[in-house]
Symmetry: C2
Subunit: 596 residues, 2 copies
């Protein structure tokens, strides 16, 4: 039951709700769906009695609604009671200090009077105020709380601070998880099958839901179907307590006991989810990538809270991780355009403690399943998963995906050609990528290189776990410098194709050997309502620009390189013109497959 | 007058307000302070008439309130009219498609039916729908709109698209600015006088207000006084339209025509400010640094909007810049602690277009005045100013400050000792700093170095304009590589003390010569309720750790360095212990002055 303590003031102003008419105030809370009860006054004795009476009345009302619903076995939305407790700010504190009103005014905020070392009048006021509490009736001559009062306090878990709901990790039970391997996308060859990655995840989440119908919820701002997770509706619907219409039966997926929380307010969802986790349950939040910035500030505070709890509050039991999936990504905003292009949330995440933040970019559906399973089992982290909902090429079998995600970063041997079985083998260039869409473009660039420069040795590296790029001294997932140099070589050019803003990679990798040879492509605020390839080209993460990047950085390619470079420029012009004319990409781009 | 078009649905769900009782809905808008008028129905002819009647009624009501207030010359808060227009979603579109309800249901969102190339039934539906508009009555045989209808359209600035209020740059007049030099802090020597930086700014803003009482407003979440800008109240108060109490006369600074907008909702403030700028006026927004993240998403969208307007919408006249000052900074949260420590907003800003973003870290009050004057004159930018409210040392005379801010980055000769008048002079180390608090610590470290290693040649560089660190190819304010190398040398160690997260500097400077010799200190999420020095030490931006950083990076210091390093470690331990015991810093730290 909400209690609004309307004490009238903030740090330096009256509060709005305390200065509108009582009729407006009552209307507001009725409009929010409540039955407001007003408890108003300033005489402590009377107010304690009033509050107790109204509280009793409200609880009786709540019990009535509950028993009505339970006896009829029919959900309805009661106008739940709420209390507006109208008391003076700084209640029972000094009325005036230095001739200025304090009790019942904004001056009572924080420190009603200072100067305890230097102002005897203030000391006198303080003494008077404290004596008001009649300490001689509360403590004995040794200053100990008298037994009669001490015995009033509840014991054990009845103490507010020891209530397990306030330390939800104590109540938390691990999720019962189906085997994520059962949802695997199968394929004969990498880069040939297309699947909507989050759609596959939806089937897994559906069955997670089915096995955990009392302690798991999915949260999203009106986008569960848009983000392709709609299979969840096969086992539970969206919570809906307001009115129903007959047409809702045809596809609206509403139910009073639905376990999918949809509301077009990311703030409300994040608040619900945090509370749900902190009381010992599990959740999964998904949202459009660009609009997760709406909850930046809430993320910051939750990350700080988790960090302090883990390091400094040993009695607090670990809670489930906050799992946040960003979908409907920057690279696929074909009809929404520039306003929906913002991959910068992960930049913010990397500012928070390495002990509580994790960021994953699964390149395909099997990797997404493996990552999601891992996140749903974990505790005390904020896991950010970036995964798109559109059709994308699939690369790894489930067995390969598990290994790849466990390593977090790895060489894709089938896409590399630098191992020719000779002792002196080393690549001419490292093609690195992170994110589903950049991975496809890097792979397509690799295919062009195989045609044009069969002698060029390319090592293909994919990054799932972004923090692998940091050093081990900065993040527990960081690669040691030795491991990094073995993967990326200490000195060969690296063409890194990244999902987000390119400079984030520099920020993470600035300590690496010869970092200036790491050339990063990513989103740089060049966008509009574009076709996928057009948008990739505008930001230079496309296959053709990547080939140009390599030509410009690998010396040994010889005179042929000049001609290939020219052909790439031509291909860019051609493809932009086609996209502009036709409103879609050429079929050889749309249907491109890996064929080696 | 607000009109809520309650069409009942979003992309995949009913809207809450359309499914609560009409009594609750009415209560809600009464609670918000309005008199709601309901216009409800689905027959277009009747609805047009109803809407016209109600609109007329509302406008008459608004005129009545206005004339009442103007004839009595007394402000009051009327219950302004608002209209709830309840119509079907997809109104007049196809009722059903493929047996599913569309008009008046969420299916009408976006694309009510597709398959125009392949589904003749859908094409038939579309034709029926379009014919419904009776094109034969609207167009002549050539397909031209008939004259009678054409003449109904307004002309000139009565056209909605040509209304100058919708292109506010046309209405914008430059602010009349007092001479900011008149507010200068004077000093005999740098680093000896202390002043509250934003307090000085407050006097300037007060006089900006005085000269522009019709087109300038200051916005802040309940923090104008807390951020030390309260001198503004000498010329105008805070807007307050709700009830007044007699005690408000003693310091509440409320008035119905106040031009300071205070509300504990950063979202509302940012929305107000954007609207104010877009309609041709000027504003200044200030907020606690940690909580500006609340409006990250709004900032992102405004930056995108500005960028598009500047580059692609030539008819749109430039509007005043959005000026955002962050105060109550991470390094001075002595009683608020960890939750109030977050300097990461600027990280977000650097992700947006270089053509619209500017970031300033004035180190003292004179620099703050110079920067603020510049920002208030500018157009079509988002200017972020980071400046603290506490007492800080002052470094530059007004004349020096203007030069320093115009350059954006500069050597402070009085704090440097690398110029000994010899041709081969070059520094052993570059001490760089950015931000008011880090500047003091860097300077204090420099003082220790002068004592301990008088032969060590230190160049002291301060950064006001953060984007100077990027290359000129990335940001119009970026230094060329040549300029950068002249300032920082191409190869000497740089100890960069930064206000924000340290890796932001690496992100900006990753293209610089030998960037790995740039060693950055900054906030790294180590905080609590600490004294200023304690917090600085925990994050290693303090004078003692900076000296250690230099010892560890400059080889030539010899065996003495080992002993100095040890003394620095001892000083750290001593000062932490003192802060912990006493709850404050040692007086030699609090009262430290530059004495060279």
């Amino acid at each position: 039951m909400p209690i609004l303590n309307l004490n009238g003031y903030k740090i330096a102003n009256p509060t709005i709700l305390s200065r509108i008419s009582s009729e407006e105030l009552e209307n507001l809370f009725k409009g929010y769906g409540y039955t407001p009860y007003l408890v108003e006054g300033s005489d402590p004795e009377t107010m304690h009695q009033k509050m107790a009476t109204v509280m009793e009345e409200c609880i009786v009302k709540i019990r009535e609604y509950q028993s009505e619903a339970r006896s009829n076995n029919k959900a309805f939305r009661p106008r739940w009671p709420m209390i507006i407790l109208r008391t003076p700010k700084g209640w029972t504190g000094p009325k005036d200090v230095d001739g200025h009103k304090v009790e019942g005014f904004w001056r009572a905020h924080q420190v009603p009077m200072g100067g305890m070392h230097s102002n005897p009048e203030h000391v006198r006021l303080l003494e008077e105020w404290m004596k008001d509490y009649k300490p001689e009736e509360l403590f004995d001559e040794n200053g100990t709380l008298i037994r009669e009062l001490k015995e009033l306090a509840p014991v054990g878990i009845k103490r507010m601070s020891a209530n397990p709901v306030a330390n939800g990790g104590l109540l938390r039970k691990d999720l019962k998880l189906p085997d994520f391997r059962d949802y695997a996308v199968t394929m004969d060859k990498p880069g040939t099958v297309e699947v909507e990655n989050t759609r596959v995840l939806g089937k897994f989440l559906r069955d997670v839901m089915k096995k955990n119908m009392t302690n798991f919820r999915v949260f999203g701002p009106d986008e569960t179907a848009s983000n392709r997770l709609q299979d969840i509706y096969e086992v539970t619907k969206k919570t809906w307590m307001a009115d129903y219409l007959p047409e809702d039966r045809d596809g609206s997926q509403l139910s009073p006991d639905g376990r999918v929380m949809e509301m077009l307010s990311e703030h409300t969802l994040e608040g619900w989810l945090e509370t749900y986790l902190l009381t010992g349950r599990h959740g999964f939040f998904h949202t459009y990538e660009a609009f997760v910035h709406v909850i930046d500030s809430m993320f910051n505070q939750h990350a700080k809270w988790l960090d302090i709890c883990k390091k400094h509050v040993p009695w607090r039991a670990p809670v489930s991780s906050l799992n946040l999936m960003l979908s409907s990504l920057v690279w696929r905003q074909d009809h929404n355009g520039f306003s929906h292009q913002d991959p910068g949330f992960v930049d913010l995440v990397t500012n928070k403690s390495a002990d509580v933040t994790r960021i994953y970019f699964p390149p395909d559906a099997n990797c997404l399943l493996s990552v999601a399973d891992h996140c749903l089992r974990s505790k005390d982290y904020i896991n950010v998963i970036v995964a798109d909902k559109q059709n994308h090429l699939q690369y790894l079998t489930m067995e390969e995906a598990i290994k790849h995600c466990t390593k977090g970063i790895g060489i894709w041997e089938w896409a590399s050609n630098d191992d020719c079985g000779k002792a002196a083998d080393e690549p001419d260039v490292v093609m690195a990528c992170c994110g589903d869409i950049p991975t496809t473009e890097s792979l397509a660039a690799t295919a062009i290189l195989r045609e044009e420069f069969p002698e060029l040795k390319v090592r293909f590296i994919n990054v799932v776990d972004l923090y692998r790029l940091q050093t081990e001294t900065e993040h527990p997932h960081g690669l040691s410098n030795k491991e990094f140099d073995i993967l990326f070589t200490p000195d060969k050019p690296v063409i890194f194709n990244f999902h987000g803003y390119p400079w984030l990679i520099h920020k993470l990798a600035y300590r690496r050997t010869n970092q200036e040879r790491i050339h990063v492509r990513g989103y740089k605020e060049e966008g509009n309502i574009n076709t996928p390839l057009e948008l990739a080209i505008l930001n230079q993460i496309d296959r053709f620009n990547l080939v140009i990047d390599i030509i410009d950085r690998v010396d040994k390619l010889g005179s042929k390189a000049v001609y290939v470079r020219e052909r790439m420029r031509n291909a860019i012009i051609d493809n932009l013109a086609y996209a502009h004319e036709e409103g879609m990409d050429r079929s050889e781009v749309v249907n491109w497959k890996w064929s080696y």
